[in-house]
Amino acid sequence: MAVCIAVIAKENYPLYIRSVPTQGELKFHYTVHTSLDVVEEKISGVGKALGDQRELYLGLLYPTEDYKVYGYVTNSKVKFVIVVDSSNTSLRDNEIRSMFRKLHNSFTDVMCNPFYNPGDPIQSKAFDSIVSAMMVQAC
């Protein structure tokens, strides 16, 4: 389903990034990092209506020949980025949205863990398994 899922801290360093093992990890890191440009552009709210400000889903950040990059930002400005294969046409906006919702829920669980220090890389197994499920599912 997704080929890469990343959680990026407010300060733009990666808290969690995982990609399918078959393809170059490095490439996804570059892709996700570059996508932050668009995320910032969207967050900065140029031309964003007031009503939309509660909308966390940022939509398609940018397409490349091979991948589509989607973004989502939590209220605390933690960014989620999901990269899907362009050839995977079964994924519509709704599916992406629900993936982000799932991711956000799991991330909230991670943050609720009293032993987790906000800002540290996420090492939660529960979170990991949610991400794994998204990467494997329907692929």
Partner: protein, 1253 residues
Amino acid sequence: METHEEKPIIYTMENKPIVTCAGDQNLFTALYSSLTQQLPREPMEWRRSYGRAPKMIYLEANFVQFKEELLPKEGNKALLTFPFLHIYWTDCCDTEVYKASVKEDMQRWQGVLRLHGSVDWLIVVVESDNKKKNKTNILPRTSIVDKIRNDFCNKQSDRCVALSDPLKESSRSQESWSSFLTKLRTLLLMSFTRNLGRFEDEMRTLREKRTEPGWSFCDYFMVQEELAFVFEMLQQFEDALVQYDELDALFTQYVLNFGAGDGANWLGSFCQPVRSWNGLLLRRPIDMEKRDLIQRGEASLLDLRSYLFSRQCTLLIFLQRPWEVTARALELLHNCVQELRLLEVSVVSGALDCWVFLSCLEVLHRIEGCCDRSQLEANFSHTVGLWTYATEKLKSLGDLCGLVSENGPNSEDLNKTVDLLAGLGAERPETANSLQSPYKKLKEALSSVEAFEKHYLELSHAAMEMYRAIGRLRSARLVGKSLAEFYMRKGDPQSAENFLLDSLKSYVSESWSLPLTHTRRQIAECQKQLQKMDEYLQTSALLASDANLSDEERKHFCQEILTFASQTAESEDPRVALSMSSFTQLHELRFRPASALVHVGAVLQLELHLCSLMPVPVRVEQLAASVHFAGEQPGTTAQKRAAQNPDGTVTFPAASPVSASPALELCEIQEHSPSDNALNTAGVVCKNMHLLMRRHDSTTSLDTPITAPSALAMDDGAQMLKAHDVTLLPGNNSIVFTAPSQKPGTYTLRQLCATVGRVQFVLPHIYPVVQYEVYSQEPQLTIQPLTENLLAGLPQQVKFTILTGHYRVKKGDALQLSNTDSMPVLHSSTCTARILSSTGELVGESALSIQSSEKVTSISLPLTPPYHTLEFLLDVLCHIPSSPARVESEHLTNGQISHRARSRARFNSGMAVIDQKVSVDCPWSIYSTLVSLTFHVPFKVKHSLLSAGRRKFIQVCLQNVSDTNFKLTNQTLAENQHTPSLELLSLNTKTHSVVFSQQCVFSVWELQWSGMPPVSLQCVFSASFAPADAPDSALKPYSYEFAVERVSTLYSVRAEIRPAAGEQHCRTGTLCRLEVSLTRLTEPNDADRSDEEFSETEGLRTSRLMYEVIDNHSNWAVCGKSSGVVSMPVAAMATHKVQMEIMPLFAGQLPFPNIRVFKYLPHHASVVIQPDTDSCLENDSLSVLDKALEDQADTASLRSRGSVQSLGEQQPRGVPMPKRQAFGPGQVFNGTQGRQVLVLPGTDHHVLEVNVT
């Protein structure tokens, strides 16, 4: 809506809905121009089926002559050529003519229309006044129109319209035009609705058949496009676009279904290999070539997509939505690439790149063509994607055709290039004249290495500029990075370096480790080629410690450093300083001892735990920490070492993500005043405020500079902690340093430097602050009592503590205690000394040898190393001075300084205190140490002289003021002068007594003498005492010396109270007689004579006495004179009687009033008080008389206090006033003391006074 310049180039704009005209052609020709002009003037509302929103529409029409061929045949679905309305024009106003020819013609026309099923027709009757005038005989109104309506329009009267005087400028003509046009428009719209509705229905039916085997997408495409054309013709671009979008979606769905295995036959034609990749063509409104291909079913996928997009693009530009074009273009290009992949269409490698490249540029050119520069600049975010895409594609083309390598293309590459160029075909005529066409660009770029580079750089820079302009720095840097890769392949590391460093910056600042590693590796390669050794080594160090790299790579980079390090230096600055952070990571520093506080010369070890990040063991020749030394300065701000844990460890913080905010670092601060070291201020200071108070951006700027590793410099501190030849294994290592501690002061670790050959790894700042302190201490001797209070008179233990400090106790060193008589040192042979180390551990014990000589007591000390503690106990005894007030002046027996053991009476604790100073000569100092010991006298003794007539008694009261119980024996009183006739007779019954704490023991002796009574007595009270639980052998003597003056009784005072005459008893309220008789008991002896004042009158020696009767208790009222002066003859048993009247105020047994007697000194006598030779006198004579009486019981204390003011001082000197002087205790015996007399109540019995007390 539409600019007029654009109109001619758009082919479809020439199309207008066709309206046929039959009937009178001349008539129509005359009206044609005004008709075409007026028809589009006003909009009409177009209500549409399927719930589509109504639209206002301006209608235009193409009026053509009616021909039967124009009517569509059965099955012809062409809409563009479809006549929507048929109009029959006639100006016939003659019924005859109408009947004869016009009606027939109309019927034929109607017949043809009916044959083709067309119901959209209109008959226009043009009425003209000119014609009517000619035929006046005919009914003027409604005849022809009505006839026509009758004949043709059954129930459709609106199908026939009269137009009156169309060529005249009259209001009637205007009106008639207007209603005609409205009708015309309405009918046209009705026709549109009907015919388009029918068309759409048919189209839908066709679409539903798409699952049938023979269905062809191309056919359907043509049908739906027809609809789009019509909408476009009606200027309904939105609707037209919808048609194309539907086609697009349908096709996409088919491709997807094909991918999912559900192939449609017709799709096969699109799967043919791609032979032409000449890109999009957006300069024509309709690309007829491609359209023909589609119509013929010969189009390839790219052809179809290109054609579809060109149509969409055209419509979007009509709709003034150019930025949607760019977005759609990017999507289309991505999509096409995916679709070709999905359909497994065979494509020459590079062909798609060409197609995409050309298409990108074509779209950009098209957009540039319809927007001005400022619009373009404001919308870089929409175009930059295409620029980047084009750049990427050109790059991959360059790679493919060997244009990027240093050597240029080989023959194989050239063949590929030729193939690719062939697929481009010939340049299209539209762009043939343009110098900058995409086609020309691509051809040129592929033609030579230089041209490629030029074009590639141009594109890359354009993309980067745009990214920067819209603030997408990360994207810009990524483009820069690929540009750097290009330069590296071209063998131009110089140009590549800056791009790489730039992108490295953003990865460092945002801690993206994987891109960081990758970029850094590229930088390493670049720096190596540039021979920037320092930078290369630094990068290598970082890479060698990078966990993202494989072991081999890390080893390689590590080896690079080690190889360099082992080379001999050729330049004058042989050393290369690198940052230590890449080499090792400090974990913890542990002080031994944990306090990090040692004395001078002591061993302080620092154990440094660090983690080597190198993949192989590294032998470090020297690991050195430079130390900053600050000498001891009392009074300066003392900072507590906050970072140091109590267990003596300093934990270095682990490297955290750069952007995370640092933790609060607080430390305690105390400021002491330089003069007396008292605490002035205390506070808490935040040490890293500059970091915390920094403005926090919600998004970290990518431009934050990274610390340049080149700025490392090793300060050559004077002091160093060094460890030589350490091999750092990968992972955790522990290194022990021995810290220098030669000088007292604070040592702060500043830098750390590991030297490996020519390479030094330097940590410029050790953080948190690591400090240790070295102190120096003078030897110190303290003597402390073992118990809370030292008691005088008993052996007491005192503790000697010697802190050796920097002094080493050598053999033969001894403490010399100067002996004082009042405090001998009692030494026993069992005295041992304990030697303790500075940490308080017992090191050893040894016996002390104590030698006493007459002057000094010498205690030879055992050998003790510096900074140790020597402890031993010593018994001392402080003699209680027999007379507490006596001042002793003693010379020290060792004759150095004269000092005296002073005893001061302190009354705060009830204990007299003796401060005993001991002078000790210590071996480390030429000066003696004076140690003060405070002893407490356990007893307080008072004495008093008691008289009974001539008999005398001495009472001694001994009070135990200490907290210890004592037993007391052998209380004796002795007279010092051994007067022969004097005897002291003890009246005490017990010889042993126990005196408890805070209790008293009284002893009484009677003084007996024969002959002359003693004038004064020097007495010594002595007793033995010991703690109540001690054996008798521990008894210690106690003595108390005192003197008693004027022992003998000079006068006796007697008094009688007699009731009034005739009464038997005294009564209250009645006067009684007081008779006082003063009797001289002895002749004054010589000693007394000096004491008394005598006067000689008429040969009789007399002394003057003053008496005074005072009743302090208000029992008596003295009536008349209460005092007087009498002259007493100086002879034994001389008596003087005085009488006075007193009145009792109460009834009962009343004590006698006080009768006091003083010496009377007349005013002419010398005022100056004679100085007393006896020390006793200074204290107890000349006291205020009243006070002397009251304090009679407390004479001992009065004496020692000696602060009672004398009379003489109270009065101004030189004023001749008579004076009275009190007698000493015992000189006057008052026989009335304690006597009482019975007083009866007064005669009036009716008043009874009852005192209840």
